[in-house]
Every structure is written in structure tokens, then in C-alpha cells.
């Protein structure tokens, strides 16, 4: 077959993006469009006593005003803990209370100011440890009655929305056999995805009952399904048009409030599209954030460095509504020990409600949060035992045949290889002396792993339509959120089919026309949709070869296709036994004008095999594939100012097979820099439940001037059941960045900062403390 998998095909959507002609959701204009705005709670925890919308409704240009009780249905993918707008009470500052649709943004804003809401403030809970212990004050009083997925376990009469329990072997007994036991705690604050495009949705309810949605949402089918539940509509009456997405990172997964609020408004203004675009402040405060975590590790080791027991507790600060975060807490739980083989593990992962911003899926889905502690803890242990960071990791690393914390036996594991390569590249053992005693350099390494965190039965599908001239439409409902999905998927389709990639058009996803895709999340698209595409290509080829066999007089099993030419493999140069794909695009035609068959439409579906829910001890196989890798960092710390400069970083990931190496590099570099941002700059700063830094002035993300030099390495240990051997990489690429930097800082100045981010203040305080202890 002509090889296009593994080559740097240029982005299929490049031209529209560099010319500014790509129309993102906020760019869309409709002739009778209305602007939607949301009225939000100023209190972090309060009862809604009354809402008077009469003044707003009377304003000229205001076309619709809604409140929570108009739409009482609950929405949730994993736990049903939220309604379209808050009804009886508000649970965070920014909780939507009412919404308006008006002829202009100015009128809409004036209408919000004209809505009178009476609140009765309640005491609030902003510390997850406190909230977890709390028995009287419940943030969700009806938690006992919430619908939830059967792998989610809310704890009755508490603020714990999920408790994931994992028991492998016998940790208590194994601790007795340990030569040394270490206990440590690490902390990660809430941070935000900061996509450059904020959340935005347009909804139009037509007079004939059909609903159209255009949205920045990552997953058209999930969006449609959840909207269907909330508004009690058949799915085929809802059409979600995919639109280019300006960055998602998980924040635009599932169903986010701007969509159901826009839909709700649209039902009152039939025919008029209603657009809701979040401001940047709303994006920070009211969209979705990454949960915070308090992570406690107790580890028992043998003298030689073998880790034999672990007791782990993760307490997740989930914020006011925990729909997605309950699954993050589960994923953190079943990945709790990092990429290491530990025979005895006792882990409890708690997702906790607090009166803080809503959290959810963020690139890594819990992995960044837990590896911050895992990858520093293991180095503290190593140092105490007299092992190097690399030795300690290699000794305990997952390998082929290892059993992970859920007892799954692993294969195709490339972790050790990535560690050795990264350590070599950054010259981990060599440190530079700057000659200036106040500028100290250090190097560090950290590893990570992840698999797609999906329900075991998450399904993908693909259709390959052959058109009359032999050109192809590839129909999928995966979205391109920047990662280059359309390009990589087209490459796999071209190679699996046997045509030139230039003949493949990726049809824009549209739930009326393109087939089911569970979600574009979890680094699953290349893997899952890729496998569906391979199946669709095989189906298309079977149809083509059925016609060609009859037409050319060649046995079907002797036929192949390359570059769109079907040929006889036993007689490859015989042009009488060849035909272009276009000849059979609409079936086989006969000399007398009749024909047989019809359009060649290849159909492929895929659900991963061998995965199911874990048992009550968190044991089993629930992850369809794992990706391993690491980052290494070289930093320079200014001991007078506490500033950390990251000079160089190396990223090494085993991606199985790089379908498009340049796109893979893009993920490695982008993920690394996003992790670097959380390591040094990013955190939500609060006064109680009030978010103080909801703008770029006070919440800084990396700029071009901040980034280190980055070396990327792609390792390829084929994944047996991956399409062309490929694994996901988008999320893994972010996981080890922050702990690698923390480890490099430790190497430089001998102090650990155990809470993200590593700020100059924390460095200086830690240096002072170290000096005091040394004296």
C-alpha cells in the first residue's frame, strides 16, 4: 500500500485558519439572531427566595426571560446534579440564575440589571477536607436521590459526590514487611483550561419543532443526547452542526451550561437563533475548571528500592457541581500509583462538593493532578535509599507482563525506554555551574501514563462514501479541536483504503448526516475512530472487489487497490486486469445499460474489546490502552528573587505509531507548555468562594517569551490493537511537565515545593526554612 501513515501531511483545515475565513461559533451571523446573557449568583451559597423578572421583560428589545423553574430537568453524564439554571439555591459565585435574549448585547445586559433576585445567604464550604467531614451542611441536599452512572458512588448524606475504592493485594500486611515507610502530602489548586476561544453556543428552535445547535462543544453526539434528555426531545429532532473549535482541552466536553441555556431561551423565540458567548471573566469563573487535589501517599519499600505497599488518599476539590469530576476522581483512583508496579495498594479517591467554581475534565483527566505528587514522592524515597531518580523509576516501572493497580496485565509497555532516552537527552547526571552562586542550575525528570477515561462501551463509527469520480467523503463525528483529527483520520482512511490522501474530503460533522461518535475527548480519537475507519475501509474494499472481481474476471482474494487503482496481485502489470475506483463507485455497470449494486459506502464501527467496569475493589480491566512517557527539565533558580527559569525540556513519549509525526510533536510541545504553565504561573486565587483572578491581568498563561527550548522524541512500540499500532498522546503529553520542573528545582536548590505552582515566594520561604534547619 502507498504509505501516507507516518508522514507529515499538512493540515486539511490549514487554509481556512491562516486566512481568517474559518467561521467559529461566535463568527456566525444569522439574520434574526438574538443575544443571550446570563444572570449569575453573587453569593457562593444561598437560597433563592424570589426572582422578579417583570422589569426586564418590559424593556424594549427584550424577547425572552427565563428562570430555573421553567426548566426543571436535570443534566449529567455521570451524576445528575445540575439543572439548566439554579432553581432553589445557588452553590457558587457565578451560578446561573436567570437568562435573557435580546436584540443587542447592550439591551441584554441592561435586562440582566433589571432582574431582581432575593437571596438568603447560607454558610459555605470552601475547603474540600472540611466539606468532606461536614455532616450537617450539605451543598447538595438531595444527593441521595441523584441519578448516577453505576460506576459512580456518591456517599449518602455527605458532600462526597464519589468515593472510588481500590484494594489490590493486602497493603496493611505488606507495610509490616517494609524496610522503610514514607508519608507525604501534596497539593494542587484549581486551574483553568484557558482556551483562546471562550465557550459559546447558538440555538435555534424552529416552528416545525426541530432544534438546531452550533457550538464550540467538543462532542456533537453527547451534546445532542444530553439536550434531548433535558428538553425531552427525540434525538432526530435535534441537529448539531460542528463548527471549528478554538481549543477545548476537555473544558468543552459533554454538555456545558451555555448550550442548554441558549436552547431554553430559543424555545421562547421560535425561529430566532439565540447566541450566548462567554466573556473571558465568565470563562474563568463560570465555565469549567480543573479540580484541585490534596494527595496523601504512604509508601512501603524494601532496602533495594522495591516498592511493596502503598496507601493513597486523593481528596478532589470538585467545586459546586461535579458531573465530570466524579469520573476524574475515579480515573485518578484507578491510576493512583503512577506508571509503577506495586503489588499491594489501598487507595481511596474522594470527589467533594465545595462552594467554588464548577470543575470537570481537563487534559489529563486527573493524571496531571496526581502525578505532581507521585513523581516527587518517588524521588524523595530514592534519595533516602541512595538510589538515583532514574534507578528508582526503572526498578519499579511498569513493563510487559506487569500488573497495574487494577490488576490488569500489561503489554506493549515502553515506559522504561522513554525514561532512559529522556535522561540521556537532557544529560541528567551532568549539572552546569553558572559560576554565580545566586544562580543555581538543576535537572529533573518525571514520568506519567494515561489511558482514555471512557465508559468501557464508548463507541466510534465511520462511513466512507465513494463518489462517482472516485473521490471520497469520510464521514465521522469526531471533531477537530486543534489536534489535527481530520488530517490524521484522513491519512488512516487513505492508507486503509488504498487511495491517495488528496482524494479524501473529511465531511464536516453534523449529527443529521455523520455517524455516531461517543465524544472527542480522552485522547481516544486516533485510536477509536482510527479503528472504525479501518473497518469502514475494509467494508468499502469488499464492495469494490465484489464488483471488480466480476468485471475483471479475477478472484476477490487476488485483488488489491493502490492509489485508487484496483489490480490483480498475481498479475500486477496487466492493465486488462486493472480498473480505477471510480469504475465501481456506484456499482457495476453492464454493456446493455443495466447495472448491479449501488454506491459503495463503507461502514465501520468500533467498541474496544476486553474492557468492562471494575469490581468493588477497583480490580479489572477498564482502560482500552495506555500511553507512557516522560519529560525532563533543566532549570536555573535565582536564589535572591526565587524566580525559576526553565531553560530546556525534553519530552519523550511512546505513541505506538505516529500517524503524523508533526501533529504528534504539536501535542508534545503544546501539552508540555500547558503543564509548564501550571508548574510556575497558574492557580485560582480565592477569597472564600470568590475567584479573584478571573482575567488575563491576574491569571497568567505562558507567552512566547516564557517557554523553554523543547526537544521532542517520539518512541514507537506498536500497540497491538491500535490502528497501525497508534496510541493516544494528547493528554499524556501534559502530565509529567510540572513534576519534572519541581524535581529540577529540587536538584538545583535542595528544596521541594509541594503545592503547585512553584512561585518565587514559595522558593524564598523554602530556602529560608532550609537555612534555618541547616543551622
Amino acid at each position: 500500500m502507498g504509505k501516507v501513515v507516518g508522514t507529515n501531511v499538512k493540515r486539511k483545515d490549514g487554509i481556512e485558519k491562516v486566512t481568517g475565513s474559518a467561521k467559529y461559533t461566535d463568527d456566525l451571523k444569522f439574520s434574526n439572531m438574538l443575544y443571550g446573557k446570563v444572570l449569575r449568583s453573587p453569593h457562593e451559597h444561598a437560597k433563592i427566595v424570589s426572582i422578579d423578572t417583570s422589569r426586564a421583560e418590559a424593556l424594549p428589545g427584550v424577547k425572552a426571560v427565563i428562570t430555573g423553574k421553567d426548566f426543571p430537568n436535570v443534566t449529567g453524564l455521570y451524576i445528575g446534579d445540575r439543572t439548566v439554571l439554579a432553581i432553589d439555591k445557588v452553590r457558587f459565585i457565578g451560578d446561573p440564575v436567570a437568562a435573557v435574549a435580546a436584540e443587542s448585547l447592550e439591551i441584554a445586559e441592561r435586562a440582566l440589571q433589571s432582574i431582581d433576585v432575593e437571596y438568603e445567604e447560607l454558610p459555605s464550604l470552601v475547603d474540600p477536607k472540611e466539606s468532606m467531614e461536614e455532616k450537617e451542611l450539605l451543598i447538595h441536599e438531595n444527593i441521595n436521590d441523584y441519578d448516577h452512572a453505576d460506576f459512580i458512588h456518591p456517599v449518602k448524606d455527605t458532600n462526597i459526590s464519589n468515593h472510588f475504592k481500590l484494594r489490590k493485594g493486602d497493603a496493611d500486611k505488606a507495610f509490616e514487611e517494609a524496610d522503610h515507610i514514607y508519608e507525604e502530602e501534596f497539593e494542587v489548586p484549581m486551574v483553568q483550561h484557558v482556551p483562546i476561544e471562550t465557550h459559546v453556543s447558538v440555538a435555534q428552535s424552529q416552528l416545525n419543532g426541530k432544534l438546531n445547535i452550533w457550538s464550540s462543544a467538543q462532542s456533537p453526539d453527547a451534546l445532542r443526547e444530553l439536550v434531548g434528555v433535558v428538553f425531552e426531545m427525540p434525538l432526530n429532532q435535534i441537529r448539531v452542526d460542528s463548527v471549528p473549535i478554538g481549543g477545548g482541552f476537555g473544558g468543552k466536553a459533554g454538555l456545558n451550561p451555555e448550550t442548554p441555556i441558549a436552547v431554553a431561551l430559543s424555545k421562547l423565540v421560535l425561529g430566532c437563533p439565540v447566541k450566548i458567548t462567554y466573556t473571558r471573566a465568565e470563562e474563568f469563573e463560570c465555565a469549567t475548571a480543573r479540580p484541585g487535589i490534596i494527595a496523601r501517599f504512604k509508601t512501603g519499600v524494601k532496602e533495594d528500592g522495591d516498592i511493596i505497599a502503598q496507601e493513597i488518599e486523593y481528596i478532589w476539590d470538585g467545586g459546586a457541581y461535579n458531573d465530570y469530576t466524579v469520573n476524574v476522581s475515579k480515573t485518578g483512583g484507578y491510576s493512583c500509583a503512577g506508571p509503577y508496579e506495586i503489588p499491594n495498594v489501598k487507595a481511596d479517591s474522594y470527589c467533594v462538593y465545595t462552594n467554588r467554581p464548577v470543575t470537570g475534565a481537563y487534559r489529563g483527566f486527573g493524571m496531571c493532578e496526581i502525578h505532581w505528587g507521585i513523581e516527587q514522592h518517588i524521588e524523595n524515597i530514592a534519595e533516602d535509599l541512595g538510589l538515583t531518580p532514574l534507578e528508582m523509576r526503572l526498578k519499579n516501572a511498569l513493563k510487559d507482563g506487569s500488573k497495574n493497580v487494577t490488576g490488569e496485565e500489561l503489554s506493549d509497555v515502553g515506559y522504561s525506554e522513554t525514561l532512559e532516552l529522556a535522561a540521556e537527552q537532557i544529560e541528567l547526571d551532568e549539572k552546569e555551574d553558572t559560576g554565580n552562586p545566586t544562580k543555581v542550575r538543576g535537572k529533573g525528570i518525571a514520568g506519567g501514563y494515561k489511558g482514555p477515561s471512557t465508559p468501557p462501551n464508548a463507541a466510534s463509527s465511520a462511513l466512507i462514501q465513494v463518489l462517482a469520480d472516485g473521490s471520497i467523503n469520510l464521514l465521522i463525528t469526531a471533531t477537530d479541536i486543534g489536534q489535527g483529527a481530520y488530517t490524521a483520520l484522513a491519512q488512516m482512511a487513505a492508507e486503509a483504503l488504498g487511495v491517495s490522501i488528496d482524494t479524501i474530503n473529511v465531511s464536516t460533522p453534523n449529527t443529521d448526516y455523520t455517524p455516531y461518535e461517543w465524544q472527542t475527548v480522552g485522547s481516544r480519537t486516533t485510536f477509536s475512530v482510527g479503528n472504525a475507519i479501518i473497518n469502514a475501509a475494509e467494508d468499502a474494499r469488499n464492495q469494490l472487489f465484489d464488483y471488480a472481481s466480476e468485471d475483471l474476471g479475477v478472484d476477490e482474494e487476488d485483488l488489491d487497490m493502490e492509489d485508487g487503482i484496483i489490480f490483480d496481485t498475481t498479475d500486477p502489470d496487466n492493465t486488462d486486469k486493472q480498473a480505477p475506483i471510480s469504475k465501481y463507485a456506484i456499482g457495476i455497470m453492464y454493456e446493455d445499460g443495466s447495472g448491479r449494486g449501488g454506491q459503495v459506502i463503507g461502514r465501520g464501527v468500533y467498541i474496544p474489546e476486553g474492557v468492562s467496569n471494575l469490581d468493588e475493589n477497583g480490580q479489572g480491566r477498564t482502560v482500552n490502552h495506555w500511553t507512557y512517557g516522560c519529560h525532563a527539565a533543566e532549570v536555573e533558580v535565582d536564589t535572591e528573587t526565587g524566580q525559576v527559569e526553565v531553560l530546556n525540556m525534553v519530552t519523550t513519549f511512546d505513541v505506538g505509531k505516529a500517524i503524523n509525526p508533526e501533529l504528534v510533536e504539536g501535542q508534545l510541545e503544546g501539552g508540555l507548555v500547558q503543564g509548564f504553565g501550571t508548574a510556575l504561573f497558574e492557580e485560582f486565587v480565592y477569597d472564600g468562594g470568590k475567584l479573584l483572578n478571573k482575567s488575563f491581568v491576574d491569571y497568567k498563561i505562558p507567552t512566547a517569551m516564557d517557554i523553554p527550548n523543547i526537544e521532542t522524541n517520539i518512541v514507537e512500540n506498536a500497540l497491538g490493537h491500535g490502528p497501525f499500532g497508534a496510541r493516544g498522546v494528547a493528554e499524556p503529553a501534559m502530565i509529567p511537565a510540572a513534576p519534572a520542573i519541581a524535581n529540577a528545582v529540587y536538584d538545583a536548590i535542595g528544596v521541594r515545593v509541594k503545592s503547585m505552582p512553584i512561585t518565587p515566594e514559595k522558593i524564598l520561604a523554602a530556602l529560608k526554612e532550609k537555612e534555618a534547619n541547616d543551622n
Binding site: D26, E197, G246, G247
Partner: protein, 155 residues
Amino acid sequence: MKQKIKFTVNGEVREYEVAPYQTLLNFIREDMDLTGAKEGCAEGECGACTVLVDGRAVNACMMFAVEADGKVIETIEGLASGSGLSVIQEIFIEYSALQCGYCTPGMIMSTEALLRRNPNPTDFEIKEAIAGNLCRCTGYTKIIEAIKAVAKKIN
């Protein structure tokens, strides 16, 4: 009360009526349907709205439309010509210097402004020129490589 203004946009002289409080960004997006420039923050911090005003890179969200009177405005839509993409646009694609594309128009306009005044920038000067253009997807590495390649090509 609307105000009359006259300015050049992507090579064409045009006359408009603008509201006094309207930003240049809002005006070009809503009234001229030039949606390439994006609103990322509306407070001059992210650069997604970068356009050229008399050859200088400006955050259009921080400028009132009335201030455009008598000026030469260039947006991303004006870069490609009848004969095809500009060099910067071609090389951005060639070097995979974009992912979601939302920061891309602003990033390209900042690059255009840089290379007009400094056709042979150092690495530092490149980073400084795009420091006001936030990108969350690429990690900037390929963007910087692309800009270096453009400089090399035009010199």
C-alpha cells in the same frame, strides 16, 4: 449618535458611521463582517484581535472605531491576494504552526508587522514581537520556527 469616519481597510477606502463607544474590533467583526480578528478577552491581553493600524500591530479591542478615521487598517483577510496565500500564511501551514487556529490571525498579523519593520529578527526579537499573542495549543515552538523560516525566505 453615530459618527462618520473614513479609512482604508485592506486596500480599499471606505466610509462608515460608527457608534462612539464601539471598539474597532466590534466594528470590523459586526459591521464589516471581517471575523478573522477574534475577541479573546476584550481587555488587550491576549492579542487574538491583532490588526495593523498604519503598519503597527494593535489590539483592536483596545481602540475605538472612531480612532480609525484617516488610518490604514489591515486585517488577516487582506493578506492573501488573488494569486494566493502570503508567504507567512504558506509557511505557517508548512511548519504546522497552528492547531485550533483561534490565535492564528492575530499571530500572523503580529508577524507581518514585525517583518516589515525588522526583516531579519533575532530569536529574542521574534519572541518579543509575538509575546502579546497568547496561544494555548502549540506551545509556540513551531510558530517561532515558522517565523524564522519566513525571515530566511524573504531575505
